[in-house]
Subunit: 322 residues, 2 copies
């Protein structure tokens, strides 16, 4: 409501140039969205009407699975069809986030030189939450400003990361041969949400075992398919040899078509809307709580410290007074 | 309020035998608490008054850091002083959770034969949330039923795990020599919350590098200490050779004394109370949302799907109507 005449450029002012595809405006909008300042939601709200066109792909795998390299090559593959690609890196160890090995970063920079690719890494402050919210806001911005495919890179461990992966249209889970069993086990819960499995580093001799393990797992989970059910593929890739990338791109496109034709896309959108609403409500509650330590909150905390009230009942009072 | 005459044993009925130290009652109470049924909160609320005696220690490290073995040995070390030890395993890959290698599980079972040790592993359903809440309820139960030290084992990656680690009195972070840099990087955020650092597997030749890396990191973060500030120690352990375990126990006890004498314990308790309140409120919101898809919620979801309202604004309406 409050048009901010005294602020040099409001987020709303950035909307028009961003929608026209001007990169600096898109970048600034992304930064503002990540700050979570209330002012930005007017712009995000306006922009939200123009979302829903991009195909959003979550790419997840533990550190060491080679997912950043694969993602870079996949982006280039998608570019060949002329489509614009947005990349949102949520993994703090990702070279996209500036976290990792120099060689990788150089490879990523090549990609960044292509004006049809926009790379954004999310600051993962970790402890304060908001990661899922910020990531999905970033996806909205890239979607509305004309990126046809948005790839989200996540490390695939932890609640927040799983929430991000659940808010996409197509989930690609990357396994690498030779990572210890104890490390693979971390992502047990993530394996189950894959629409497409990738076994990376297939030039390695132990890749076959990883492929057959995955194939067997999928067989074990086999349920009689509905007429239109999606068959989860296992795609073998080698970023080194450049193998499997175009097959992966095809499978992603096939899955996109499947979602639309089977009506699954609407279901998935409903699920995403539900999750986002809930996540936003949680974040809002957290913001309100942290920014307004009102008397009744302080009073509840004192009672908690004296152990006169259980956190569960204190929480109920908190929400009722919110 | 509703005294449940038709239910065979209510959670409230379990309270007396649990407080008297009867293991089956404690186990059943833990299971009920994990179910999150509303009925259990009457008992938890009653029990909460008797909490605050145990020293709660979070032990965190990536898979492969040897933390389960270390934790088992530490528990035995603490037992030598006659204190009772509760263990809550949150790591899905932990042998305590039945997730991992057979050899480890046998070692854990030895420990479980000691009546002064109670081991509980949390089901990490991962996607539905509630992990932090359930873990802290379990800690309360062990605290109130007479366990002097409660050790929480977490994998140390992900939001939920970090929240758990933040809700303890003493945080022990385990690093192991020889794990890849990319894996170590995952826990960058966790390194900063350590009260005590452990370098495990010190029989290995590359352990010295891990120790000096940590020591250097601590020096770099060095700020002029307040008169009473805690000096974060780096403890080298070898579960294989049985080295460093008693030093680790001493350091944990020293930290416990430090917290009490410096007044830091009260501060930490305040922080824990705040976090728990907020976490409970979030979970409550989630429960209400999922269990009561009222008309106004459905209406908000439809508006979201039509992209007529932004999730942020929809969330505000949701909370205001909660």
């Amino acid at each position: 409501m409050s048009s901010s005449a005294n602020v040099p450029v409001s987020s709303l002012d950035l909307l028009e140039p961003a929608m026209a595809g001007r990169l600096p405006a898109i970048a600034r909008l992304l930064t503002r969205a990540e700050s979570g300042a209330e002012e930005v939601y007017e712009a995000l709200s306006e922009l939200y009407r123009h979302t829903g066109k991009a195909h959003v792909v979550g790419i997840t795998g533990v550190p060491g699975s080679g997912k950043s390299t694969l993602l870079a090559k996949l982006a280039r593959e998608i570019r060949r069809s002329g489509r614009r690609v947005g990349i949102v890196a949520v993994d703090p160890t990702s070279p996209f986030s500036g976290g990792a090995i120099l060689g990788d970063r150089i490879r990523m920079n090549e990609l960044a030189a292509d004006p049809g690719v926009f790379v954004r890494s999310m600051a993962t402050r970790g402890i304060m939450g908001g990661l899922a919210r910020n990531t999905l806001d970033a996806v909205d911005i890239l979607d509305a400003t004309g990126y046809d495919v948005v790839l989200i890179e996540t490390v695939g461990v932890g609640q927040d990361e799983i929430e991000v992966v659940q808010a996409v249209h197509t989930t690609v889970v990357i396994s690498a041969p030779g990572l210890g069993d104890d490390i693979q086990a971390v992502k047990a819960g993530v394996l189950e949400i894959a629409d497409i499995h990738v076994v990376s580093k297939c030039e390695r001799p132990d890749a076959n075992r990883a492929i057959s393990d995955l194939t067997n797992m999928l067989k074990m989970n086999w349920t009689p398919p509905e007429p239109s059910a999606w068959q989860i593929p296992v795609v073998a890739t080698s970023a080194e040899k450049g193998e499997g990338l175009s097959l992966l791109q095809e499978k992603i496109d096939e899955h996109s078509s499947f979602l639309k034709e089977s009506g699954t896309l609407l279901e998935r959108r409903k699920r995403i809307a539900e999750q986002r609403l809930l996540k936003e409500a949680e974040e809002l509650l957290r913001d309100r709580f942290l920014s307004h330590p009102e008397d009744h909150v302080q009073d509840l905390l004192s009672q908690l410290l004296r152990r006169e009230i259980h956190p569960h009942h204190a929480a109920r009072q908190l929400i009722d007074n919110c």
